[in-house]
């Protein structure tokens, strides 16, 4: 089964996506990731104001199968976390690119954007 990889997003090889929203970057996990994890039962996110570092863990996602680290695609400051996920973590399964978003980051290193994968490169990684 092929995973959805929207063309307008950027990706990490650890299966997070990033979307530019003005000066901010929105972060979530990909369709491939949510499918591989199965039913998600818990999402642990950092507090607003926390600093996240490029390709270091910023939280965990737990499914009925396993708990996995979430990796930050960018370095920066967390300005918003998705409040819906603490009560309804299954939103990540239902709408991973929309209502299931996780963080909004104020990025501090513009150059890191260039290291992210585009839809073609990420699609090649997961839909081989």
């Amino acid at each position: 089964m092929s995973s959805s990889v929207p063309a307008e997003l950027k990706y990490t090889k650890e299966h997070e996506w990033v979307k530019r929203e003005g000066a901010l970057a929105v972060v979530g996990i990909t369709d491939h990731a949510q499918h591989a994890l199965g039913d998600i039962v818990f999402v642990e996110l950092p507090k607003v104001g926390a600093t996240v570092t490029c390709m270091k863990p910023f939280g965990t996602v737990e499914s009925v199968k396993a708990a996995s680290d979430l990796f930050s695609p960018l370095t920066g400051k967390v300005v918003e976390v998705n409040p819906a996920l603490s009560k309804a973590p299954e939103t990540v399964n239902q709408d991973c690119y929309g209502a299931g978003w996780m963080l909004k980051i104020q990025p501090s290193n513009e150059a890191e954007f260039n290291q992210l994968l585009d839809d073609k490169a990420y699609g090649a990684l997961v839909n081989k």
Binding site: A36, D39, V41, F42, E62, V64, K65, A66, P89, E90
Partner: protein
Amino acid sequence: MELIFEKSRKGAADPYFPKEDPAGTRKAADVLGKGALRTEPEDVNKRLALPELSELEVVRHVLGLCRRQVGIDSTFYPLGSCTMKYNPKINEAVSRMPQFAGMHPLQPDNTAQGTLQVLYELEAGLCHVTGMDAVTLNPMAGAHGEWTGILLIKAYHDSRGDGKRRKILVPTAAHGTNPASAAMCGYEVVAIPGTDDGLVDLKGLEAALGDDVAALMLTNPNTLGLFESDILKIQKMVHDAGGQLYYDGANLNAILGVARPGDMGFDVVHMNLHKTFSTPHGGGGPGAGPVGVKKHLAEFLPVPFVKKTGDTYAMSSDRPKSIGRVGAFYGNSNVYVRAYTYFRTYGKEGLPEVGKHAVLNAAYVLAKLQDTYTRPLKHPCMHEFILQPTKEMLAKGVRTLHIAKRLIDYGYHPPTIYFPLVVSEAMMIEPTETESKATLDKFVEAMKKIAKEALETPELVINAPHSAPVGKVDETKAAKDLDLRFCACE
């Protein structure tokens, strides 16, 4: 099945606690002192709301629960990575001898010579099978052993003024306790990738090694059930970089009596006695996670330890550079009596048969099933192996979870599933050495029937189990809304 609380009938049994001294001669407050009395005015029986049943009803209830238990004594239990071998009943008989069962950890050494001798000789036996120079029996369980072992490595680096080593390397396929133990000791955990063949990626290891690395944690055979054939190269790379090599004893059963972590270059090893030495598993435990070390780490081992002078044994804490105590007393000694019994039952000649048959049994089942399911790793397996559903099964909507649940209908405990995480839809099967060929053949037959069902009647597999006391459970709800309480209060 009704809970015992639901079966309760008011007045069926006498209250558990009398309200006052039955003879009526003394008041509780006079005996205990007023300060010791609870302030709640309620009747204690009402507050506890314990179930009330006759003795016969209790016996039937407990026997009913026993009948629903699944364990190695009732069925084949191929739970990969857990080594669910049969625990010989002689272990229980010996550990229940009053000379062991009646011991107290605080009684004088000269009244505990037998128990101390068992502990001392068990240490020697564990040294012998792991190739280490010294063993501590202090840790209470495997993860406690890991934590102790990592503290020993830290003490070693600190003693040499080598304080900049802040990282511990762990393969991506490792058991979750490895990174957890390293993190508990304050280390940064760095994941080492595996090759497509399922072994440690030497290039990835090379890139991660440096003067900031304290240790590499590894188990061999690894968590994919494969022997790390580059282990001597790996140990040289780690040691040349100034790091220590830690052996997770999770998979020791596969090499028991045949190969030794010490000879592979490992500096520290913890052993899960419940896996390899037939002591009780989990839950009912209690556990035991002895740690063995090479000479250069022995002075840091925790206290106390058993000291032998002439023919006399004594507990000692005379180890000045020790990391200190990691438990109140010297481990769970009655678990050690069981492990010791196992050792003495097999002896030097018998132990290698354990490792050999564990591997043979796994290789046999794999050979029988590799054409029915997908075999992701081509290397010969050791004591356990991984299968996946075939593409055709997945196309019918049958996933690993469903196959595992369907096995319950055939009377088996399911294998470990979705571990290791690096293999999608993994089923990890470990038959252990204590199963006969007849049992393995029946299991193979069941797995083949399920494979056929997955293609022909997938709904039957997807909705399993059909015969268990509890049907398909909502695992998402169980994880999210876990509620283990029962309230009998009105």
